[in-house]
Amino acid sequence: MFWSKFIVHHRHCRRSPSPSIIVQCYCYCRFASSSVSSIATSTSPTPTLRYDRDSGIIFLENDSDTSSSKTFATPPSTRLPLYQTVIGIEIHAQLMVPTKLFSSAPTRHRRIHDGLNSDHYDDGSTPNENVHAIDIAYPGTLPQPISTSTINASLLSAIVLNCNNIHTISRFERKHYFYGDLPQGYQITQQRWPIARDGLVVFLPHVATRSNAKLIVDGAGAGEGGDDDGVPIRRRGMRNRRGVQENNHPDESDNDVDERNCQTRELIESLSSKSSSTSSPPDPVQLRIERIQIEQDTGRTIVGSSSSSSSPVSHYSYVDHNRTGCALIEIVSHPDLRSAHEAAGAVSRIRKLLQMANVCDGKMEEGSLRCDLNVSIAPIDIDDVIGGDEESDRSAGGAQNTRMVLPPNTGHRVEVKNLNSIRQIIAATEYEALRQSKLAQLGTPTGRETRTLVVGSGGMADETVCIRAKGDAVDYRFMPEPDLPPLILDEETLGCTLDEYVDKLRTELGESPEDAASRLVQDYGLTMDVAGVITGDTRAILLFEETVKFAKNEYLLLKNCDDDDIDGDENMLSTLAANWLCNDLFALAKTSTSANEGNIQSTVSLLDYSSIDGQRLGGLIAMVAHGSLTSSMAKKVLNIMFVEGGRDHPRDIATANGWQVVSDKKTLIQLCNSVVFDPKNASQLEQYKTGEERKRWKIEKYFVGKIMAASKGNAHPELMKEALSTVLEKACIDS
């Protein structure tokens, strides 16, 4: 093992030389008054730029109400839309393949492939343990032929991203730059001849988290952090896709623009209200994928501490080459996105798709999936907005068309590199939107830059800092890779044509979340919303179906009847199962995730945190359905099952804790008798017999409480009340 040590300058500590930007709050930016006076005109309140994450519009508004920046109570007259963000994404996803791209060195995914338990996999392998001479560019080594698993994973990615063109011949090229984590001095990648082109992803924009939103109730919320709901996508996505195909003349909608001389103010008002109304569920958006390319990952740089104060260099960095040379796919999108929440939604969706295909584990915090954003701003022309009112309304059919062309006068794009969470994507977009708008307002629009997000700490907000300006842009000197022949996927190399091979992979992939959701609706009578939540989690579909199966079996046993007799109860069982799975079990899993890591964004499935299988959950559902457990008891049982694990049947857990609904009539009557005729309660009984209606009702409630206590809460509430009235009636008659 060795460390390759090198010196780095504190590049990231160089702040961009634009001190006039004062970031006050996470979501808006305030002009320094001196530099902005020119555009602030004569209005007395300080104008503020505000970014709407849903619509992607940067407004100039008078900051008359500084205390409540979140509310949109400001008079519409002071809100002026200035710019629209235009965003493209590049996603680097590490493929879950056992060896590196061009060497036989194992990757951290090797264990999974070796059949070892992935739950206990440990990424803390010793630095530079999984290194082959090829990975560190030992002189004379040559890249070895690419592995079949890498080919399969790349093709699967192309399949799930709906790529129209998967190429029989793709070629590798070298991208040159010097850095300590790049031993060859170049990265082998694909540039002009990628493996796949022209994909399409349909997704729901991210929806801001509402902490108490219940999954089932708020279907469109579909889980925190933009875990998108796959169901409506399919329905509406069909229409959108048609929109793409018809869209040969994307300018047409612009041409329709009437020179309607409507009141600008009214328009602004409508825009504002539209953008501020976040309660309605967002409509699906589509993102065109330009290409998917296979490439090598770089090493991981670990910043070391300063060696000594006398040392002339600022500090050393160390490189761990375990990651060097791992297989990545880079997914490059068109600049079809228009807002921070769309960018976040698109990344979540792609991450999910790759996870579902088992291509990438999607662990953003571990760097398995990293995202670069290309953000630019386009001025909003009031005239255009008037004509293309529906442009801002994404549900309109023409909306997708306008995305296909860059808005006129779009500024230079700024690349923000290596974003490691959905939150960072939103933060970076917003920061860039405001920064670029500010510069544009000052008449000094941003040039092409590469920036990185510095996560704020100690009360400081996040911000992006420049790592490369236009002047010293890197020339990557792309060159065809002479050590590798073209990657040819044909009968000779695959054993069948590429189309057949892709079809085979598609079949092995199984059903898409969309298909699964409609099947759940069809077969189990679930609502689309619920089905969407279940299919949004990789493991939940299987668990749900097993749960229903076992629940039905146990229910039959409890009822002691035949299959046919419970026909009507089947839907009841599946609805119960879905509710318990999505509400209670997910809630438990989520608490435990946030307790463990504080970040649920990157887990493949929430159910990874649960050991409850379909048999045990099914047993519980059956007992609830049968009435042998009340739902509060069942919750306690579920909690025990979740926390303690093990294989105990829920019935045994309930019994062990003395949770047993007493619903037998005889037993209940006995119980009532013992309480009602208890000498301690003789006075109450006497009052009941003699008392008027109101008094009786009160006494009855008293008895209910006493009986419940006597049964230790196990008495079936309704049946017990029935029994009580029988007993009390009898007592009255007897007397």
Binding site: M1, F2, W3, S4, K5, F6, I7, V8, H9, R11, N128, V131, H132, A133, I136, A137, Y138, P139, G140, T141, L142, P143, Q144, P145, I146, S147, T148, R174, H176, F178, Y179, G180, P183, Q184, G185, Y186, P312, V313, S314, D472, D475, R477, F478, M479, P482, D483, L484, P485, P486, L487, I488, L489, E492, T493
Partner: protein
Amino acid sequence: MTIARAARLFRSSKITCEQLCHHSYNLAYFAENSLHLNSYAKLVPLEQILQQASQSDERIRNGNSKGLLDGIPVTIKANIAVGRYWEMPNACSAILSSGNELEDTYSTDEGECSLNNQVYESDIARRLLTDCGAVLIGITNMDEFGMGSLGINNGLQRDVQHKRPSPTYNPVPWMQRLASLLESKQYLRIKDCENDDYWVGKLVNSTPGNPHGIHDENCLADLLEEVQNSIRGEENCHRTDEFPLLSPGGSSSGAAVATSHGSSLLSIGTDTGGSLRLPSAWTSTVGFKPSYGTYSRYGVVSYVSSLDTIGFITATTECAEIAWRCLGAKSKAARADGTSGRWNVQLSRDSTARVYHKDSNLCDHNCHIHRPLDQHTLFVGETMVTAEKPLADIRVGIPSAFSLEEIPPIIASAWSESARSLQNNGGATLVTISESELASPWIRLALSSYYVLACAEASSNLSRYDGLRFGVNVNPDSLYSDHDANNGPLCDMTALERQISANRAHGFGGETQRRVLAGTSVLSSDRFHTHYEAAAVARANISRSLENLFRSSLTNDVDDEKVDVMLVPTALTFPPKLNQNGDDMQQTDPTAAFANDVMTIPISLGGFPSVSVPVNADKLNIENGLPNNIDLRNMIGMQIFASRGSDDLVLRVANELQ
């Protein structure tokens, strides 16, 4: 001595491998320490050579020899990894493997890495030394990273003071002088017509101080003193007006010198634009470059990945043929299994190996011309029975496009004499390829496109020597003054960039830096299309127009226009004189040396198999019309080349030429 003779003497127990290898060691020692040829970057210690040789002896005695190469003394070029004997052919000495350790470890300034306890060895070295049992005498010297045609860019001995390294010198002038001291007034290399007893006697009496067996010790001492004076650059030190310090050609300089001087019977080298053929022409040896992709390049330091080809230098074409068949046995089998040039997991460690062997039939087609290997080689020289007209079915093309106006008359006449010899003695049909079929501008264009492509790939391949893992690691502050550091380009650099540029500026030799910079330039986004792509197009055109001239062996067409092989001179120049600093005395422009490769480069660009054969000056009717009294007729090579995969055919025709 040839491989065939050695193998025969081993098997008849007249000599042992130990004796031969000891003699080779003596010759190598003499070359380095007495003649100062600088042909070896590293000599393997004698006891290790003898240990290997005795194992070969035992195998041959027990009848389980590993083949004809078992026990044969060989050398390997410094850019090919040879386990623990390997030294890098450049200033990047930080990765030198330490010869005493069993593990192949390397260290940087900051730590070290063990490569899974496996010795890092190239595929070709493993094949030669492990599979074929050859005995390694040493690692041969070369131009740094293979960049250079003269053997003067040797980076090995560069020290901190930027002192120029000693160049590798051409042994031919000294060999001529040595021959004059011998009773047998014959050159020592190519004419292997002495009887066995002569060689046995020579081996037995060989010593490190006098391996050639010169009886007159005083004459030898005088000669060695003259060598000393020449190397020191003293004026008028020469007994005659001969000028003995000549370039051996490059970049496989050491390989050619070792073979020419006799210490190695088979020198493995690499050929990128002519690196094997040019030195072999200038040192009167046979240089063979097989089709691109014949041998796996795994373990060979990349210079121009798309052109680098492993080949070898031998004393005779017969030796080359034996080496070709012994080393290629396995790759031929692999070639026939239909994995040609396609992505395949089971392919060799070099993905580009065998890319061009699209028709495996091509090889089979030519294979039948061979007699069984043992028969053919073991009794050569005694029972050599050749057909009357062995080349009767061969059409030899003489492309007029290669007849550039710079061609010296003596080389032009050697060319036509060689062609006539093939026609008269071999019975081949000569076909003149007119300017209209192959235009000479392409040949000139080949040179410039080669240097564009070569520099581009070199700049890419060499970017790994940044000093962090490979290459020297120097302190940038010690290299630049404060003024430099605060002004000019340096002040815009980050600490890492400054470190890397210091390492590379210090570590790379001048020629390497020139080529890396040129390559960086042609790959830049504003020149990529105008330079790199244009060069790639030119390359494709040259390659295609040459390929179109060859008769396809598959169709067996009897097209009169097409040919089987082509004959052109290897070089249009003679070895330049060097001074004691290793400077070419006639040239000041470093790019002028590029012209030495003008005849070899078009063939390299097409990946064609090519062999350079020394012209037999006695056989040919050529006048030595040149000054200096050095017999320049021994420094002319003729190249035979054919379509990709026709390696056997090329060697067969070359055999007749010799």
